[in-house]
């Protein structure tokens, strides 16, 4: 769990935001919080909705936990975090069903599972419960944005190769034979592995360039 510990106390809000996007990207670097989300990453729309729902819950919970951090006793902090997170997930679930029931149907049983997204509980424990709300909010925003972007990339790649479209918009030439494998669970694992590899490759190139300078 070492990688979950927050950086030095002097970090600014902007640094926290950037950390979530790149250096501590929840999916590509920490490999966290993928459980309930990967299952619905077969199209860009599903991935985006699920990502946004998760990010919303993360932000709201971070604000509340951070605001209550003086009140919550250490012994019951995990139980309190889970209560806060579960409430926001339930509320998000209800709102999505009221606003867009088709999307709700597509995400099915996986929306309530946001509760046990390790990313959210990890951020509560590592940062939100120790820092003021403003910093916690920027951290949650950065982590949420990194999460949504990586998931969106995954969903887009799977939809592009599996259906030949992105957001339902046909991008591939008519002769393109869809790779059904990308829509299967196995394809989800492959696509994510490819993303992680690409990210690491880019990161190592950057580090090399920095070193050469």
């Amino acid at each position: 769990m070492a990688e979950l510990l927050p950086g030095p106390l002097t970090e600014t809000a902007a640094e926290r935001f950037q950390a979530g996007l790149w250096r501590e990207n929840p999916i590509l670097v920490q490999a966290l919080g993928m459980c309930p989300t990967l299952a619905v990453s077969n199209t860009a729309v599903n991935a985006l909705t699920m990502g946004l729902a998760t990010a919303t819950v993360l932000l709201a919970s971070a604000l509340v936990v951070s605001a209550l951090r003086g009140l919550i006793p250490r012994q019951v902090r995990l139980a309190s975090f889970v209560l806060v997170i579960a409430s926001f997930v339930t509320v998000t679930d209800m709102v999505i069903e009221a606003v867009a029931i088709e999307v709700h149907g597509a995400l099915g049983a996986f929306l309530p599972l946001i509760v046990v997204n390790c990313l959210i509980l990890g951020r509560m424990e590592a940062l939100a419960s120790r820092r003021p709300p403003a910093l916690a909010a920027f951290d949650a925003l950065g982590m949420g944005a990194g999460f949504v972007l990586s998931l969106l990339a995954l969903g887009s790649v799977r939809e592009l190769l599996g259906y030949g479209s992105v957001f339902g918009l046909r991008l591939m030439p008519a002769a393109f034979e869809p790779w059904v494998v990308m829509l299967l669970p196995g394809g989800g694992f492959f696509a994510l592995a490819a993303l992680v590899l690409a990210f690491r490759w880019g990161d190592s190139r950057r580090a090399l360039r920095k070193g050469a300078r």
Binding site: C35, V116, G186
Partner: protein
Amino acid sequence: MIDTELWSLFVNAALVNNFVLAYFLGICPFLGVSGRLDSASRMGLAVSFVMLVASLCAFVIHRLLVALDAAYLELIAFIVVIASTVQLVEMFVRKLNPGLFQALGIYLPLITTNCAILAVALFQTQRGYGFLECVVFALGAGAGFTLALVLMAGIREKLRLGAVPDLAQGVAITLMLAGILSLAFMGFAGIGVAS
């Protein structure tokens, strides 16, 4: 008739719709604990055990909340009750069987926030399973999780002897292996269909 249906439910939960390989549930421990065979099998056992406990809890809670006409509190009730029950069971195991606690103990607190556990509770409720079905479903899910974890650990132990590029070390290679395993498990599809 009943028996074949229960058997089909078990096979379906364990193989056809394996929690890890078909639903992507419990990926975190799958990536984290699948490095060594003995820890993987112990983790699998611990998860199966907690799944059974969670399934029983969820069955009771669901009946209770429906009777109270407050089904919308289900999620929050599930997670709180399951977490506390696991803690209670943990205390009992520590007192009664220190050996078992040594084997499972360190994983138990982690498992409470494992998506696979909550998924068992949510899926069984959503699909309206009866008591016996719930038990069979939880056992099947646990067996499937253990199987996936142990298979992966076996492969990764072998992999240590091979030359994996630095870039792919860790998460990436595990995900690729998971993809291949997942495709292999696709071959079980159709078993659950009663002929």
